[in-house]
């Protein structure tokens, strides 16, 4: 419980201290990426089902809500439930055949799905605006508050991240969470104890997809402009990297992974053309030395030093 209070305190404090709009937007993007990583972590980190097309759901969420609000003049708040349900149905229909695959083949299948969705955004010009994307997406408003600039979107996104954390933690610490983890360890055995594995896989895939759609919705109405490149294959890879770097099967890992992958490119701008090289190098180094991800890895290092400090005085006595 106190963890949650600390989390809220950090959000509120950050919102108060940071006033630079650029920094605030960066922090808001970290929140959106955390939602993406969190959803994929449930699918990949917990249930052990690889998805290389997670950005497709992010994009579907963004495009669906944008189109509804631009063309049909819906309020974003009305578009939200429709978007989530629509993307949930898409995820369900994709998951039905897809999750019969496993391992590399599931990776290939989800990769192909991600590409198909990307090319739809790119090529269906009459609807999606093609390469140049959609402009003039109405920002979220609530009475006098507009969630387009400043601290308001920051608080909104991080409030949703906070709620999503609670949702995921409750899921993980339940019959469903145990079933998901058992699926990761041995699909054969989880079927043998009576888990309907295909149904569970579809459910968690839909869950991850809907969370990504929520992130897409927030992104679209915050930036008020979207184009296909934001939701391409590289974005899917980036979300996978967030999960792996942050730590598989760790809620906090999603947060750290998202933060690192959002901030690194910003910090590395000073290296100009060497940016990508250094970026890749950092990821490789983390994977070699902290294969369990940042969260687990840093905790291990911390515990290592703590236990060393405890044993040190004893050795001096002798």
């Amino acid at each position: 419980m106190y963890k949650r209070l600390v989390f809220i305190a950090v959000i509120v404090l950050t919102g108060q201290v940071v006033s630079n709009p650029y920094d605030l937007q960066l922090l808001t993007f970290i929140g959106i990426n955390t939602l993406l990583a969190l959803g994929l972590n449930m699918v990949m980190g917990y249930a052990g089902q690889i998805s290389l097309g997670h950005a497709a759901f992010f994009g579907l969420g963004a495009y669906t809500s944008s189109l509804l609000t631009i063309h049909l003049d819906w309020s974003p708040w009305l578009a939200l439930p429709f978007t989530l349900v629509f993307v949930g149905i898409v995820a369900f229909l994709v998951a039905l055949p897809m999750l019969r695959l496993s391992g590399y083949y599931l990776g290939m299948g989800t990769l192909a799905f991600g590409m198909i969705v990307f090319f739809i955004f790119l090529q269906w010009r009459s609807l999606t605006g093609g390469d140049s994307g959609l402009i003039g997406i109405p920002p979220l408003t609530l009475g006098p508050i507009s969630f387009e600039f400043g601290a308001a979107p920051f608080y909104l996104v991080w409030g949703i991240v906070f709620l999503s954390f609670i949702v995921c933690e409750r899921l993980i610490d339940s019959r469903i969470g145990r079933a998901l983890r058992s699926l990761h360890d041995s699909e054969r055995a989880s079927a043998a104890v009576g888990i309907n594995t295909s149904r569970l896989k579809v459910q968690v895939f839909v869950f991850g997809g809907v969370l990504a759609a929520l992130a897409g919705f927030l992104y679209a109405h915050m930036v008020t402009f979207i184009s296909p490149q934001t939701f391409d294959f590289l974005m899917s890879v980036k979300i996978v990297t967030m999960v792996v770097i942050g730590g598989m099967a760790s809620v906090w890992g999603s947060l750290f992974g998202a933060a690192l992958l959002t901030l690194l490119p910003e910090w590395l701008h000073v290296f100009a053309e060497y940016e990508m090289i250094i970026y890749g190098l950092i990821l490789v180094v983390i994977m070699i030395f902290l294969p369990q991800g940042l969260t687990r890895g840093l905790l291990d290092i911390y515990e290592h030093f703590k236990s060393r400090r405890k044993t040190l005085p004893k050795s001096h006595e002798g």
Partner: protein
């Protein structure tokens, strides 16, 4: 789960396997195998490697559909049904090579075993209704009781992969017990166990039987099988070679020449 409704007849034969055949490519793994399992008995299946014992298990559990024949459990045909349906009907199994959930603790392994006897789904897990908390609490109590029953009470919070191999075997049995089965299929539970552990296993299986659970046992350890089984079915190259009490099987000439070897 042992409470039966008035119109429900007590089943003397908990399972009837009728003329089951299964081929993989050109290999006839099972050929017209029939036998019946008496409720409350330990029914062993023996036979040399490749005799079709594991195939038989996989067919009963719904992992494979037989090419022909029927599997009747409590007077219902179950061949070709989904594994999770069969488990919730009251059949559970263990594997020849222990298949635990390595990253889960011993207690969590048993809790996953209770999956079919609990019903909290995605939404109720998030909502945490009062009944979900109660269900979880009851499941934990039951799981601890089962761990205690197999003698692993103290290991509840160790990750299952960290347990010694013999304990992993017992834990897998605990997990299979957690679904409150009426019929348990144990695939070579003694393999990899030392003499003391095998002795403990024999006692545990007798205790399980005393709880009213019927056991279908595939086992290579002959002294264990002979000591605890009520009936023994001998399979040889996918066919039924003989069936009878341990004594009858030990005295059976065909069995001796085919399997046990001349003494």
């Amino acid at each position: 789960m042992s409470i039966s409704s008035p119109e429900e007849k007590p089943f003397q034969k908990v399972m009837k396997v009728e003329g089951v055949s299964k081929a993989f490519g050109g290999i006839q793994a099972l050929q017209d195998v029939s036998f019946q399992i008496e409720a409350g008995h330990i029914h062993a299946v023996i036979g040399p490697n490749g005799a079709g014992k594991t195939t038989l298990f996989n067919i009963i559990m719904g992992a494979y559909a037989p090419d022909s024949g029927r599997v009747i459990y409590k007077e219902k045909a179950i061949q070709g049904r989904k594994v999770h349906e069969i488990v919730s009907m009251g059949i559970s199994r263990t594997f020849q090579n222990v298949e635990l959930f390595g990253s889960l603790t011993a207690l969590e392994n048993v809790l996953v075993g209770r999956h079919v006897r609990t019903r909290c789904g995605f939404l109720s897990a998030v909502a945490r209704w009062p009944w979900v908390k109660e269900e979880e609490k009851a499941a934990r109590e039951k799981a601890l009781e089962i761990l205690d029953f197999v003698g692993l009470k103290k290991t509840g919070h160790s990750r299952s992969v960290d347990l010694p191999f013999g304990w992993q075997r017992f834990l897998e049995i605990a997990r299979a017990l957690a679904s409150e089965p009426q019929l348990m299929l144990l695939d070579e539970p003694a393999s990899g166990l030392n003499a003391v552990e095998t002795q403990q296993l024999g006692e545990l299986l007798i205790h399980i039987k005393e709880r009213g659970v019927t056991i279908l046992l595939v086992e290579h350890d002959m002294s264990l099988t002979m000591a605890i089984s009520n009936e023994i079915l001998v399979l040889h190259q996918g066919r039924r070679l003989a069936e009878g009490s341990p004594r009858e099987i030990q005295d059976n000439e065909t069995v001796i020449s085919a399997y046990l070897g001349k003494v």
